[in-house]
C-alpha cells in the first residue's frame, strides 16, 4: 500500500492498521455509568399547601424528568433550555428533548400547538430521555392533553398548571379548564394549580412573554439551583435588549422562585457529580457542526430540511472562524454536487440533509463512489416515507443510505450513538472518506439532533484537521486510479498537481480514468471499490457487549437508541435475567466478529425505530414478514435467525417500553 502513494510527504496516513487505535480513541467512550432503577420508584408525591414552608429542606433524589409545555411562542423551549443548561453547569447529567408543535403558528390553547422541552436530569450521566415525566409545568390545560396523548405522564406525575384559566372571562375556557382538572384527577396526576399569569401581571402587561421566566424561577426553587447563575444567564441572554428588559425578567424569575419556596410542599435536590474534566454541553447537530470544524473541513453545502438544518445554522454562525463556508444550494442535488466539486478540487466537503434530501442526492452519491471522490454526507433521519414526520425521530433511512444510488455502490456508513460521538465521528468520517477515497455517510436522527448532553470537552488538535491541499508535482507514471490489487486503495491527484491531469467520470473507467466498457475492467473496478470496505472492516475492533458475553438474549441496536436500550437491559439484568446488548457504530462495513458474538446467545434481536411487521398480524407469516432494517441486514450477513422488535412512535423509545418487550420475550422463551 505504501508504495502506491507517490510521495512520502503525503499527508494521508496510509498505515493499514492505524485505525485500530485511532477509531478506538475516537469512538470513546463506549461504556458509561448508566442510571439504574425506574424513575417511578424514585418518585414521591408532593402536595401544595398554602402555608409558607420555606424552612423545609429539599429532599435528595437521584434523578427526575421534567417537562415544560406552553403554546407555541410562549417560550417554554427557552425556559427548558435555560433550565437544562443550569442543571448541566451545576454538574448534573442531562438529556433533553424538544417538544415541537406541528405548525409554525398554531392557534393558542390547542393540542397541536404544544411546544416545550423535556429535561431528564440526574446525579450521574444521563443517556436518554427516560420514561414518563415526574414533573410537568403546563401553561394551559390543552397543551397538557397533547403530552397525555403521547403518554408522557403517568399516575403520580406532578402537574403544575396555570390556574388563571379558571377565572378567564370566556365561559367556554372556564368550562374546558374545569373539565380538564376533573380529567387529570381521574388520570391520577397530582395537579397543583399555580397562579402563573396572575403573578406575572404584577411585573409585565404582556404575561405571554413573561411566564417562561417566572416558571424558570419556579423550577430553580423546585430543584434547588443557584439563582446567581441564572441571573447571569438572563443578563447575557437579554444583553442586547437593554437593562430594562433584563430587570423585568429577573423580577419575574425571582417572583417565581419566591412563590415556589413559599407554596410548594416539597422541593428536590439532585446531587451533582462534578466532573474532573472540563465539560461541554450541546445538542447533536451542534456537535456535528463543531465536528466538521474540528475535522478541518471547509465547505458545507446544504438545502434546508428539518431536522438537519440546525446543524448548518450552527455552522453558518461559526464556520468562518475556521475559514469555512456554508453554501445554501438551490436544492439537495445541487448541494451534494457542489460539495463533490469542492472535495474534488480541494479539501473534503460535507453535505447535511435528512431523508427526502437523501433521496434526491442518490445519483450524485453514486458518482462519488464511482469517481472515488471523498465526501461526508450527514443524514439526520426523520420519519418517512415521503414528507413523513418532518420533526420526529425515526431510523428508517439505513437501507436508503446503504442502497442509495443505481448499481452497486459500496460506501461507508457510520452511526454515532451519543452527542459526543456526533462530534468525534465527523473527524473519523473525514479521515475515512480520504483514506478510502469515497463517500462516508453519517446517520444520526432527530433525537440526537435536538437532544442535549454534556460530555468531556474535546481537546482539538492539528492532527484532526484536513491536510493542506497537495499541490506538488504528481508522478506521471502513477495513474489516477492506481488501485492496489490487494486493498483497492489508491491516492488521487488534485487539480493543481502537475502531472496528475485526468478526467474523472461516472462512466466505467480503467486505472487511467479512461472510459472503458471492457468486461474485465468493469469486473476489476467493481471489485476494487468493494474491496475497500473489507479492508476497512479488517482494521476495526470487534464491538464490546454491554453486559455478559453470553446469555439468553442479545439486543442489537444502532444510533440514538443506545442509552434507552442499555438502561432497559440493566433493569432486566438487575432482576437476574441473562440479557445483554450490542450497539453498532459501523453499519457498512459492519464491525467484525458479529457472528461469533451472536452465537453465544440463545436469541438475538434488534431494537430499532423503523417499521417491521409484527408476527401474528393479518397475512403476516414467516414468508411475508418484513423485518426492521438492521435485522434484515444482519440476517443476510450472518444467516442467523435474528429477530427484531421495532416501533415508529415518532418519539424516542422510552427504556420502559423496551424493558417490557424484553420481559415479554424472556417469558415466551421460558414457556417454550
Amino acid at each position: 500500500m505504501q508504495s502506491l502513494h507517490p510521495k512520502p510527504t503525503t499527508p494521508i496516513n496510509s498505515t493499514k492498521y492505524h485505525y485500530l487505535q485511532e477509531l478506538a480513541f475516537q469512538l470513546l467512550p463506549y461504556s458509561r455509568v448508566f442510571l439504574r432503577g425506574t424513575s417511578s420508584k424514585a418518585m414521591q408525591p408532593v402536595i401544595a399547601v398554602n402555608e409558607p414552608v420555606s424552612t423545609r429542606t429539599p429532599r435528595q433524589i437521584d434523578q427526575h424528568i421534567v417537562e415544560i409545555v406552553s403554546d407555541s411562542g410562549e417560550g417554554a423551549q427557552t425556559c427548558g433550555q435555560m433550565f437544562a443548561s443550569l442543571c448541566a453547569r451545576s454538574g448534573n447529567g442531562i438529556w433533553t428533548v424538544e417538544i415541537i408543535p406541528a405548525e409554525i403558528e398554531p392557534p393558542a390553547r390547542s393540542r397541536a400547538g404544544a411546544s416545550g422541552y423535556r429535561i431528564r436530569l440526574g446525579s450521574q450521566p444521563v443517556t436518554n430521555a427516560g420514561d414518563t415525566a415526574d414533573v410537568v409545568v403546563a401553561f394551559n390545560e390543552q397543551v397538557l392533553y397533547s403530552r397525555i396523548d403521547t403518554k408522557a405522564l403517568r399516575p403520580g406525575t406532578i402537574v403544575y398548571l396555570d390556574q388563571s384559566w379558571a377565572e378567564h372571562q370566556a365561559e367556554d375556557i372556564r368550562i374546558k379548564y374545569a373539565e380538564a382538572i376533573k380529567d387529570f384527577d381521574r388520570l391520577g396526576y397530582i395537579v397543583v394549580e399555580i397562579p402563573i399569569e396572575r403573578e406575572c401581571k404584577k411585573h409585565t402587561d404582556d404575561a405571554r412573554r413573561g411566564k417562561n421566566m417566572w416558571v424558570l424561577g419556579l423550577l430553580c426553587a423546585l430543584y434547588d439551583l443557584d439563582m446567581d447563575m441564572v441571573r447571569g444567564d438572563i443578563a447575557k441572554r437579554f444583553a442586547k435588549k437593554g437593562e430594562g428588559v433584563i430587570r423585568k425578567n429577573v423580577l419575574l424569575l425571582e417572583d417565581g422562585y419566591d412563590w415556589a419556596v413559599r407554596h410548594t410542599a416539597e422541593r428536590f435536590h439532585i446531587p451533582a457529580t462534578k466532573s474532573e474534566k472540563p465539560m461541554v454541553v450541546m445538542n447533536g447537530n451542534q456537535a456535528i457542526g463543531l465536528g466538521v470544524m474540528a475535522a478541518g473541513m471547509e465547505l458545507c453545502a446544504m438545502y434546508p430540511i428539518t431536522p438537519a438544518t440546525s446543524a448548518s445554522h450552527f455552522l453558518a454562525s461559526a464556520f468562518d472562524q475556521v475559514g469555512g463556508f456554508v453554501h445554501q444550494a438551490e436544492d439537495e442535488i445541487a448541494a451534494i454536487g457542489f460539495a463533490i466539486g469542492a472535495s474534488y478540487a480541494g479539501k473534503t466537503a460535507v453535505t447535511i440533509t435528512s431523508g427526502p434530501g437523501l433521496a434526491l442526492k442518490t445519483e450524485f452519491i453514486g458518482l462519488a463512489v464511482m469517481a472515488e471522490v471523498p465526501l461526508v454526507i450527514v443524514v439526520v433521519q426523520r420519519g418517512g416515507p415521503s414528507t413523513g414526520l418532518p420533526t420526529k425521530i425515526e431510523q428508517g433511512d439505513l437501507l436508503a443510505a446503504l442502497y442509495a444510488s443505481p448499481g452497486d455502490s459500496p460506501k461507508i456508513i457510520i452511526a454515532p450513538a451519543t452527542i459526543e460521538e456526533c462530534f468525534h465521528f465527523m473527524i473519523t468520517a473525514r479521515k475515512l472518506a480520504e483514506e478510502f477515497r469515497g463517500p462516508v455517510m453519517v446517520l444520526t436522527d432527530a433525537n440526537l439532533a435536538t437532544g442535549q448532553q454534556p460530555f468531556p470537552r474535546p481537546k482539538c488538535s492539528e492532527a484532526w484537521l484536513a491536510a493542506p491541499v497537495d499541490q506538488s508535482d504528481w508522478e506521471k507514471e502513477i495513474p489516477p486510479f492506481a488501485w492496489d490489487e490487494e486493498t483497492g486503495l489508491s491516492q488521487r491527484p488534485i487539480p493543481g498537481q502537475r502531472g496528475g491531469e485526468h478526467v474523472v467520470t461516472g462512466l466505467a473507467h480503467d486505472r487511467a480514468s479512461h472510459v472503458a466498457y471492457e468486461s474485465a475492467i468493469n469486473q476489476q473496478s467493481m471489485e476494487m471499490r468493494s474491496r475497500k470496505l473489507a479492508v476497512l472492516q479488517s482494521t476495526l475492533k470487534q464491538p464490546a457487549v454491554h453486559g455478559a458475553n453470553e446469555g439468553d438474549l442479545l439486543v442489537v441496536g444502532w444510533g440514538s437508541t443506545l442509552g434507552a436500550i442499555e438502561e432497559a437491559v440493566d433493569r432486566v439484568r438487575a432482576d437476574g435475567h441473562r440479557v445483554s446488548s450490542l450497539h453498532l457504530r459501523f453499519l457498512s462495513p459492519f464491525e467484525p466478529g458479529l457472528k461469533q458474538i451472536f452465537s453465544r446467545f440463545k436469541n438475538v434481536m434488534t431494537v430499532e425505530i423503523n417499521y417491521s411487521d409484527e408476527p401474528g398480524k393479518p397475512y403476516i407469516n414467516e414468508e411475508s414478514r418484513r423485518y426492521s432494517q438492521l435485522a434484515m441486514l444482519l440476517r443476510a450477513r450472518t444467516l442467523m435467525d435474528i429477530d427484531c422488535w421495532s416501533r415508529v412512535p415518532g418519539s424516542p423509545l422510552p427504556p420502559a417500553m423496551i424493558e417490557n418487550e424484553l420481559r415479554r420475550r424472556l417469558q415466551v422463551m421460558r414457556n417454550a
Binding site: Q286, M293, L299, G341, V504
Partner: protein
Amino acid sequence: MQGLKKDWEVEAPPRECSLEDYMGAEPRWCPGCGDHSVLGAVQRLARDKQLQPERTVVVSGIGCSSRFPHYMKTYGFHGLHGRAFPLACGVRSRRPDLDIFVVTGDGDCCAIGTAHWIHAIRYNMDLTVLLLDNNIYGLTKMQTSPTTRPGERSNTHPKGSVLPSLNPIQVTLGIENASFVAQTIDWHPPHLYATIKAAHEHRGLSFVRVYQRCPHYTSHIFAPAQSDPGKVVVMTHPDGIHADEVAMKLFPHRVNHDPSNLEEARKLAKDDEAFIIGLFYKSDECARYDQATSQGIGMTGMEKVAAMERALDRFAL
C-alpha cells in the same frame, strides 16, 4: 495566486505549452460535428493564453457535448446529466486559482439542469460556460430538446414538436445578476474563438451559447445558415466581440448593439430564428458569489485549533 496562502504555496514554474499539450483522447464525435470546432477553439485559447494544464479544469454533464473534458489534457470532471453547474461551482468555491470551463448541452442545461443553470447565472462565479446547442438530444438518439423548434420531428415527437422552443439567451438575460451573455456559431472559427476568448477574460460567469451543428440529426437546421452567411446577423460594438475583421466581412448583416444595454439585448434576443451572434450583455458590476465562498482559505492549523477552542467555549460548562 489570488488570495491563497500557506496551504497552497507550492507553485510549479510555468512551462511553455503547445497545442498538443492540451489534446487528450481522440475525439469520438461524428465527422462534421460542431463540437470538434469548439474543442479546437478552446485548445487554441488555452495555448494562446498559456493556461497551465494542471490549473485548468473542464466540467461537463452528460451528452455528446459533455464528452468534451475527455478530449482535453487538463483536469476534467465528466459529471452527471444536468449537473455540471453544481460541480463547477463547487470546484470554484475554494479554488480561485483555477481556470474553469463548463461544457453543457441543450438538454443538459435547459431541461434536466434548468434549476442549476438559473442559479449558477445568479451566483455569477468565475466560470466560462459553453452551451453547445444542437437543438436536439444527440447522445440518446434524437429526442426533442427544449430548444427544438416547433414542428421539428424527433423520436419522441414524430409528428413534430408541439411547443415553442425555449430561448436560452432570453432566459439567461432574464436572470438577475447575469454578467456576460454571448452567442456564436461553431462554423465560423474566428468568431467562435473571439467569443470564447472574451468569455474567458470576463470575471464572473460568462454564458456562451454556441449554435452547434449536429450533422447526424439536425443538419437541416444549421446547414442553411452555414451555406448562406446572409442568414447570420452580427452584433458589433467597441465593447463587443472583436473577431478578425477580414473574416467577419463574410457576414453582410450587422447590428450595432451596446452590450451594457440590457433592455436592447433582451429585444434583440427575442428573435431566435435569426442567427444573431456577438455579445448581448456584459456587466462588471455584478456580485460574485465565489468571493464569498473562498473566504478564509489558507488559515493555518494553529489558527484553526485556536478558533476551535473559542467555538467550544460557547458550550463550556
